[in-house]
């Protein structure tokens, strides 16, 4: 018993430094951001004076009334939706192709995984060149130039500089979503590939002996077994997309009429360009809550699973 106690005390001492650091640099700063978001620190001098004046939810009210922030929320919603669908769909498709063991699958596996090793800033810059519309039809650039060379002028489009929208979905986001899916689908593929490799061959054999076709095996046997992976993939992609900043900042900026703007960019501009620290903090807190909404149920379920096993 006392050995056990000693052991746990030792463990506690070992994790104490990181506990303190995380306590200060994560949780204390979260607390401080929340505190700031309820203050009147909307200029450099008020922040500097450091006199805390509680203003209730006024910063939040102003943020939610702001047409730019409303656009940001819609953009985040559609970006997250199509980014997750695209990455999971493409990742699953590629994983299945490679799992079938087509010729050179090892090569393709690495090829598809490679974009993940690149930073979002690089991806954004390169795709901003690809989708740069140029002054088409006379003087197109990037993809539009390719279309011209192929005689497909009809496909030329404004891409991420388009201010068209369907309902609240800004079509300019399509270009950004393609770039993001290009970057992350390889990673999702790797996750699924690991999952597929972990499915025991016997189960699949048994199904085949029972006369199940490949489609049935995929949807009724593989997919249910891959469910935890799909969930993890959605969590990973979800928190990337809710916090996205670098890809969009490098690729398009806010875009005309904020068609590709997201909360993180607005937060950055409010805080570090306009000195409106309290309003910037309010956006940070809203972003934290959005991420928490998808992370906490996941943590809860995985924690419960850990306890029951």
């Amino acid at each position: 018993m006392s050995v056990q106690k000693n052991k746990s005390r030792m463990g506690f001492i070992i994790i104490l430094p990181s506990l303190i650091l995380i306590g200060i640099f994560v949780y204390y700063f979260i607390f401080w951001t929340i505190r700031t978001s309820f203050s009147n620190w909307n200029s450099f001098s008020s922040l500097l004076r450091g006199v805390y004046k509680y203003v209730g939810f006024r910063n939040y009210e102003r943020i939610f009334m702001d047409p730019r922030f409303q656009t940001d929320l819609w953009n985040t919603l559609f970006f997250t939706l199509f980014f997750i669908l695209g990455s999971v769909g493409l990742g699953l498709f590629l994983a299945n192709l490679i799992d079938k063991g087509i010729k050179g699958s090892r090569f393709f596996q690495n090829l598809f995984l490679f974009p993940m090793a690149i930073s979002f800033v690089v991806t954004g810059t390169v795709w901003s060149w690809i989708f740069a519309p140029g002054n088409f039809p006379n003087d197109p650039q990037g993809l539009n130039l390719l279309f011209k060379k192929l005689g497909l002028e009809k496909l030329q489009w404004m891409w991420y500089t388009s201010s068209e929208s369907i309902g609240h979905f800004n079509l300019a986001l399509i270009a950004v979503i393609i770039a993001a899916v290009w970057q992350m689908s390889g990673y999702i593929m790797a996750m699924y590939l690991a999952g597929l490799k972990a499915i025991p061959e016997e189960i699949l054999e048994a199904a085949r002996v029972d006369g199940a076709n490949e489609r049935y095996i995929f949807w009724k046997i593989k997919m249910p077994l891959l469910k935890p992976i799909t969930l993890s993939a959605m969590i990973v992609l979800g928190h990337v997309s809710l916090k996205i900043f670098d890809l969009i900042y490098a690729m398009t900026g806010s875009g005309p009429n904020n068609v590709t703007d997201v909360p993180a960019i607005y937060m950055f501009e409010l805080t570090f360009r306009s000195n409106k620290y309290a309003m910037g903090s309010a956006i940070s807190v809203i972003m934290l809550l959005m991420v928490a909404v998808i992370i906490i149920p996941y943590l809860y379920s995985s924690l419960r699973r850990g306890v029951s096993s």
């Binding site: 500097l48 740069a132 900026g253 005309p256 306009s274």
Partner: protein, 416 residues
């Protein structure tokens, strides 16, 4: 115990020697590339000729227009760790952020003591002052209200006279459009270039006196000229290149350089950019003041100030005295491609464009730029950027006017 004492003495010796040797001068700026850095280093070299014992620490932070540097500086000032002197745009960018909270030392008496107070134009001294005290010393001046044009296209279109009114400007743009050229190049991916264009339109509509009055509380934002400015901006939209929101100001300048576009409204750092591309001022490209603003000089200036509690205050004062001299200004500006803030500089050192700019600077009204931090606080600038960014797509004048009024009200400007 003995060991401890020796150790203590050793530490004390090291510490004291560090202090004795620290005859430093830390200069903070965002001049890290091209002519800017070269100019700064030339200044340092000259400074060290006069003060060979001062060790200059070049605390430059990279990033266009100082966006990164400004954030770093704010953090340092907040943390009570100011540099000895730092680069800042003249006017509200310094006043609103650092002077009003009481972080800067006034320099008026020093300027008078050094005998340079009256060497700068009065309008300039007014821009760098708050409640009658000067807080920073301008080193260089750029002009914002300039249209640059491709001379070859200009000739080809049969144009002979540089437009001075908007009517002539529109006529020239129409000709360019009919001939298949982009009439007016714009690259507003980073938003500020649109506001840069708009403040020049405002200047032409309000005129220099009333434009200044907007920020002195003498003229209301709620004036018909404000609406006229938006109307004019809307009339310009069909003449932009259609991919303007994918481009930066350099990309827009390149459209003129590559013979695709006729005009571009930009600050005169574009002149330096064209020169690095190999163009000759006056031969390959021409320039004129934005229509209706030839009686004004949209003033953009980098200045240096003295923060309170500067660690090496004496050296900082030496630095400030140095950069206020004619000699220092004539070293720095020809390299950077700007003009000196002093009116008695040596004109023979500057090219044909800069001489034109110097002549105007000495004679016409100097007005502060909004987008480049002189006229209004950063919060107002961001709101204006946002409003115009929406306006370009929505073209809704009443909404844009309302948003501008809100932003002006936030800053306590006249809106009645």
């Amino acid at each position: 115990m003995k060991r401890f004492v020796f150790g203590l003495i050793a530490i004390l010796l090291v510490v004291s020697s560090v202090f004795a040797a620290s005859n430093d001068l830390e200069i903070f700026s965002w001049w890290t590339g091209g002519g800017e850095e070269e100019g700064l280093l030339a200044l340092f070299a000259k400074f060290n000729q006069y003060y060979p014992n001062i060790n200059i620490i070049n605390a430059a932070v990279a990033g266009g227009a100082g966006t990164n540097a400004k954030a770093v500086l704010k953090t340092r000032m907040l943390g009570g760790n100011p540099p000895d002197s730092f680069q800042v745009h003249a006017g509200m960018e310094l006043t609103d952020t650092y002077v009003i909270p009481g972080l800067m030392e006034p320099l008026t008496n020093y300027l008078k003591e050094w005998g340079v107070y009256d060497k700068f134009p009065k309008d300039v001294m007014k821009i760098v002052s708050y409640q009658g005290e000067v807080y920073s010393i301008p080193v260089n001046v750029h002009r914002g209200n300039v249209v640059f044009y491709n001379k070859k296209i200009f000739k080809k279109l049969g144009l002979t006279k540089e437009p001075t009114t908007w009517a002539e400007f529109f006529a020239a743009m129409k000709k360019a459009q009919e001939a298949g050229y982009i009439p007016l190049a714009l690259g507003d991916k980073n938003k500020w270039t649109l506001t840069h264009l708009f403040e020049n339109i405002m200047l032409s509509m309000f005129g220099p006196e009333d434009y200044k009055g907007l920020f002195d509380g003498k003229v209301s934002f709620n004036s018909p000229e404000m609406e006229l400015s938006l109307v004019l901006l809307e009339r310009l939209i069909p003449y932009f290149n259609r991919d303007h929101s994918a481009l930066t100001w350099q990309d827009a300048g390149r459209l003129v350089f590559e013979g695709k576009a006729l005009f571009n409204v930009m600050g005169d750092w574009e002149e330096g950019y064209f020169k690095t591309l190999g163009w000759k001022p006056g031969e390959d490209f021409g320039w004129f003041a934005v229509p209706g603003t030839s009686d004004a000089f949209m003033f953009i200036s980098d200045t240096f100030g003295l923060p309170k509690n500067a660690p090496h205050r004496e050296n900082a004062l030496k630095w400030l005295k140095f950069i206020a001299t004619k000699e220092a200004q004539d070293i720095f500006n020809p390299i950077k491609g700007s003009i000196p803030a002093r009116i008695d500089a040596d004109k023979s050192k500057y090219d044909v464009y800069l001489t034109w700019s110097m002549n105007d600077f000495a004679t016409v009204a100097v007005v502060p730029s909004i987008i480049h931090g002189s006229a209004a606080p950063e919060g107002f600038v961001t709101s204006l950027n946002d409003t115009l960014n929406r306006f370009l797509v929505k073209k809704n004048i009443s909404n844009a006017l309302r948003d501008i009024m809100w932003a002006a009200e936030d800053q306590g400007y006249l809106t009645e």
